[in-house]
């Protein structure tokens, strides 16, 4: 090792620069990931056994028309040129046109996204509200009966097929007990009663002060959100438990106990307080995972969100819509990962 390197190592880097460097590196990784996402969707689009030219001109078009359309679509260019055009189009917001709805894919997605956002948000709220306390209790009662019960509850959440749980939930709570509303976001009678501002019906109706619509929307969202929320509960309670166990072993906990603080204060204030930062990243990750879980849930509950959009397009082999949806969900996923990483860096001085 040269002396220059050794000298450089001796001088401590100012924390601000270190933080900026870390953030830059993170952004670089994200850019690379997004590039990979584009590459994968592009390649999937190439692999599809459908000739896009034939799809555009029909079977009976003369060969000259076929050739012309092929040139127009740029399909006679080498692959890297095609990829470059594709990436440029996506980055400028052009995801192509959906065959099924004949709208630009981005317009469709803008219309469907709020429903997914609503569902995933309510689910996350439920998952956090129940998952964190359960995780804390499990850690406090480590390896005892209650811990095992919570553990099985969590593992069950990892094991149940979400679409099946949704169906069973509908039969039980909607058909037999009549506690919740059925599939869809609203009863037909309540549709179009409030002005669409955000696309999130719970918000829109609250803003308009129309509580009847709000109540109906809530009755519709609660079951799918509880089912999705169960999965985030499983994840959050598990992570909370292991983070808490790590904290409860630390010496400051012993100190707090020796000081004579009540056990409740030690656990809920001291230990949980120190777990909050990593927990934020856990919650962000579980939120990202819900986007994925919503694909199947939305199918079961006829929830007009992005997951249903993707699966419907899939079944009619509408590749622009499928790939556009994949890109958007992938981008949100990557964005949430980045967000949780940044939060971690901001809040936890050790990560800087």
């Amino acid at each position: 090792m040269t002396s220059a390197v050794a000298a450089a190592r001796k001088r401590p880097t100012p924390p601000a620069i270190k933080f900026a460097g870390g953030a830059l590196r993170l952004l670089g990784t994200v850019a690379l990931t997004f590039f990979g996402l584009l590459l994968v969707t592009f390649l999937i689009g190439r692999v599809v056994p459908i000739d896009p030219v034939l799809a555009a001109v029909g079977d009976r078009a003369p060969i000259e028309v076929y050739q012309r359309v092929r040139t127009e679509l740029g399909l006679d260019q080498p692959l890297y040129v095609q990829f470059y055009r594709y990436a440029a189009a996506v980055l400028s917001g052009d995801l192509g046109r959906s065959v099924l709805t004949s709208n630009p894919v981005l317009t469709d997605i803008k219309r469907f996204f709020p429903a997914t956002f609503e569902l995933a948000t309510v689910a996350t709220v439920l998952g956090v509200a129940l998952g964190i306390p359960l995780g804390v209790i499990a850690a406090a009662r480590q390896n005892r009966f209650l811990d095992q019960v919570i553990r099985v509850l969590g593992l069950l959440g990892y094991s149940v097929p979400v679409f099946w749980l949704g169906l069973m939930g509908l039969v039980l709570f909607y058909v037999h007990l009549d506690l919740v509303a059925g599939p869809g976001r609203l009863d037909v009678a309540y549709e179009d009663l409030v002005e669409t501002r955000t696309g999130v019906i719970l918000l829109d109706s609250a803003l308009a002060g129309n509580w009847e619509v709000f109540r109906n929307a809530f009755a519709h969202v609660i079951l799918p959100a509880s089912i999705l929320g169960y999965f985030s509960l499983a994840y959050i309670s598990r992570m909370t438990r292991s983070l808490m166990i790590e904290q409860l072993r630390q010496e400051y906990i012993v100190t707090a106990r020796v000081k004579g603080l009540s056990e409740g204060r030690v656990i809920w204030r001291h230990a949980l307080g120190n777990v909050m930062v990593p927990l934020i990243t856990v919650v962000a990750l579980s939120y990202a995972n819900l986007l994925e879980g919503s694909v199947l849930t939305e199918t079961v509950f006829a929830w007009p969100g992005i997951g249903q959009y993707i699966t419907n397009s899939l079944l009619s082999v509408d590749m622009n819509a499928v790939l556009g949806g994949t890109i958007v969900v992938g981008a949100v996923f990557v964005g949430l990962n980045l967000f949780s990483d940044l939060l971690y860096r901001v809040f936890d001085p050790r990560a800087r």
């Binding site: 990784t29 690379l32 990931t33 990979g36 996402l37 994968v40 969707t41 999937i44 689009g45 692999v47 599809v48 056994p49 095992q148 553990r151 099985v152 593992l155 069950l156 990892y158 094991s159 149940v160 097929p161 979400v162 679409f163 099946w164 749980l165 169906l167 069973m168 509908l170 039969v171 058909v175 990202a288 995972n289 986007l291 994925e292 879980g293 694909v295 199947l296 199918t299 079961v300 993707i310 699966t311 899939l314 079944l315 082999v317 590749m319 499928v322 790939l323 949806g325 994949t326 969900v329 992938g330 996923f333 990557v334 990962n337």
Partner: protein, 304 residues
Amino acid sequence: MSDATAPREWRAWLTAEAPSSRLHARFVRAYATARIFLRNPLALAGLVLVLALLAVAAAAPLLAHDNPVAQDLTRRLKPPSAAFWFGTDELGRDIYTRILYGARITLGIVSLVVVIVAPIGLFVGCVAGYLGGMADAVLMRVTDVFLAFPRLILALAFVAALGPGIENAVIAISLTAWPPYARIARAETIVLRDSDFISAARLLGASPGRIVLLHVMPLCLSSVIVRVTLDMAGIILTAAGLGFLGLGAQPPSPEWGAMISAGRKFILDQWWVAAFPGLAICLVSLGFNLLGDGLRDVLDPKQR
């Protein structure tokens, strides 16, 4: 020796402080591991469930009441009874029989995925970890890209491109499932890379290929096995999800996810058509999760 003293001798041999040979040492270790594992009732329950799946898949023709694809419209949508334990579906097929045969499909899917995924992940991770530098950076960026994707949606997109079907579902799941293995194998390899026994092997003139294949990879196996067991449930659920959406196994194949999808139409009055296959998925995934959880406690002391 009499019968009474024989077990005690065995135990003494199995718990020996100073094993007399390599084989003996392996037995001692396995015995200690098994004892820790057996003390965990949940892990044991998981093991029982997984073994039950294996047994059912193997003995499906013996346990079955009927042919899984034989249709008989005279007895369609019959509720569970002594003759049809789990009822019959819309084509009069015995659901109990179909679930038994479905176990074979599920087992087939997970085994195929694992056989494809684990070696790829192990190889990529070990090579990246052992070589370091440029190779490591490139391989890990590729891994990160795949890790950053939502798995089910990527699998959906792959299936859309390849066309529906069970083989394509396996390929799609495999394409999205290997990165975590590469991560784990790399982390283990980096720890091992600078250890003395690797240096010794290098001094003896072993090639990098030999070191990675024969010295590093075997030691990464235990963490990979834990991960595989914990992943099984995810693979089963993804496969069932694809089947449910009509993109995995195609009818009349008795795949559990596809069976739930078929039962969806009758969910209001004939709940059993969808309920029992779902229960089967649930039990099997839970089995793998409990087993994986227990195995992690035993094989990975860091997580304890």
